[in-house]
Amino acid sequence: MVNKETKSTVPTDSEVILGILNNSESVLKRLYVAYFPMVLQLIINNNGTPDDAKDIYQEAIIILYNKVKAGDFELSSKLKTFIYSICRRLWLKRLSQMSRYGGDIKDFHDYAPVDDELEKQSDMDVQFSKMNAALQLLGEPCKTIMEDFYIHNRSMQDICERFGYTNADNAKTQKYKCLQRLKKLFFHQK
């Protein structure tokens, strides 16, 4: 009952910021549920599909998340307006990339200029996709070792057992070899 209550209410803007900083799952959920319909409405009424809306909305949430985590998020306008503006900007960009942009967009909410935010985010996106590509190129077992150790934060002991290394030192050596290759792949990518 309590859970249902929290789910259905729109979190206040400061609640969201605190929630993100504390990695609160429930706040993230309430945030997501609260503003998704607004973004869905924007996208599907401007030549988009519900899947487009999901992509765009999640990208906007990630931008908000990164901004809050980096500590440079100032609420100059309402959070709702911020999310709408980001989604609107991202969608316009996507539309023109697909050359489906007819020159006008049907708006459902106020919006503010957000070009600066997107520029910072696009740098991060580049690094994200570079890392993703480097991991794909790395191959097994290195990929899994790297993911287990650096992403899933598994201990060396765990990894040692999973891959059947005779001792932790062997696993460690293997890990550093993999790390070196991954770094090489990451930094030498174009």
């Binding site: 599907i44 999640q58 994200f128 650096y150 550093y176 930094f187």
Partner: protein, 363 residues
């Protein structure tokens, strides 16, 4: 120290896993070796990106989990703005509609082309030969039949066109419009005194709408010397002009000005003039105020008031030249203008003897 070992050391250093002594030693080594310092910075940066990468993956996973709980389909149905029927029709079928519309336009254009809608002579350009309508002829025939019951049956010719013509030479060359005579060879001219003479068509220029007749009647004894001359050069705008012709049974004088040096759609063979004209004026002379023929009346714009046309005299002169060549007999035009200083009233008194009613009968 190999690379792997160095990397391990760097990682331990960054993670704070070194004890104080190791730390001191490592820092001393990195400050003495720039390459190691750079490697440390590189590792730091790389780990940051890797951390961001893993955080983002985790966040996306969380968001996807939340998203999966939302009934997007129902929500989308509620939120889509349903455009009006016609807009939806257009959105769904606009390519088909466009193709259909182009075909429709093409067919319409084609039909208009075939039916002659683009031929502007049809719609708004009326040549001024006076058609004596079929109704009139039927009336006459009825009258005759009535008369036949009481009097002796008589032969009555019904004329097809009436228009105007004017003398080019004293020996009976007469200028009129091609559209007046057409291909008919039964052409008569009637002078101011009401005398009818048989004439033959000696030259036609359908393009410029000029026809030249020759009176071929034994009763015709020739005219007095022609009082007017033919102007070779073009006349200027705003020149006072007049005409004299037979839009009805008695001759009519009409005056106006030369309003444009080109005719309908920029036709350079014509002048545009502001003389009120009626069917029957066709073929009449267009005179300037000094006794010069400057053109032949030929048509009017039916959709605009006061827009009338006359063929420029230079085209008449070239038609006369053609007659000279065909007949191998030089047509001598009058060069002495005896109307130049006369008032319009006096001019008309002279002119009337040289302007004829042209009557065209069916073959």
């Amino acid at each position: 120290m190999n690379d792997g070992k160095l990397l391990e050391e760097i990682e331990r250093y960054l993670n704070g896993e070194m004890n104080a002594e190791e730390r001191k030693q490592f820092e001393a080594m990195s400050s003495s070796d720039a390459a190691i310092g750079q490697k440390i910075a590189e590792q730091k940066e790389f780990l940051k990106v890797l951390k961001q990468y893993s955080e983002r993956l985790a966040l996306e996973e969380r968001l996807n989990a939340i998203h999966d709980e939302i009934d997007v389909h129902t929500l989308a149905d509620e939120l889509i703005v349903h455009p009006s029927g016609i807009v939806r029709l257009w959105r769904n079928h606009h390519s088909k509609i466009s193709v259909a519309a182009s075909i429709a336009i093409f067919v319409a254009m084609f039909a208009m082309f075939i039916s002659g809608t683009f031929n502007n002579h049809d719609a708004k350009y009326m040549q001024l030969a006076r058609k004596v309508g079929s109704i009139e002829s039927q009336t006459n025939q009825l009258k005759q039949r009535v008369a036949q019951t009481t009097t002796k049956p008589g032969y009555h010719i019904v004329d097809k066109f009436r228009a105007t013509g004017f003398a080019i030479t004293a020996d009976g060359l007469i200028a009129t419009n091609y559209h007046v005579v057409g291909d008919n060879d039964s052409v008569y001219v009637q002078n101011a005194a009401g005398k009818l003479f048989k004439a033959k068509v000696v030259f036609v220029a359908p393009k410029t709408d000029i026809a030249i007749l020759k009176i071929a009647d034994t009763a015709f004894k020739g005219l007095a010397a022609i009082p007017y001359t033919f102007k070779r050069s073009e006349s200027d705008l705003a020149e006072n002009v007049y005409t004299y012709g037979y839009p009805q049974d008695s001759p009519v004088y009409g005056r106006g000005e030369l309003t444009s040096s080109n005719g309908l759609n920029g036709d350079s063979t014509n002048y545009q003039i502001s003389i009120p004209l009626n069917p029957g004026n066709s073929g009449g002379p267009l005179m300037d105020g000094r006794g010069n023929i400057i053109g032949i009346i030929n048509a009017k714009e039916t959709q605009l008031e006061g827009v009338h046309f006359a063929i420029k005299s230079s085209y008449l002169l070239s038609a006369i030249d053609s007659v000279s060549k065909e007949d191998n007999a030089k047509v001598l035009l009058n060069t002495k203008n005896s109307m130049v200083n006369l008032s319009t009233v006096q001019q008309l008194k002279k002119l009337k003897n040289y302007v004829f009613m042209v009557k065209v009968y069916d073959k």
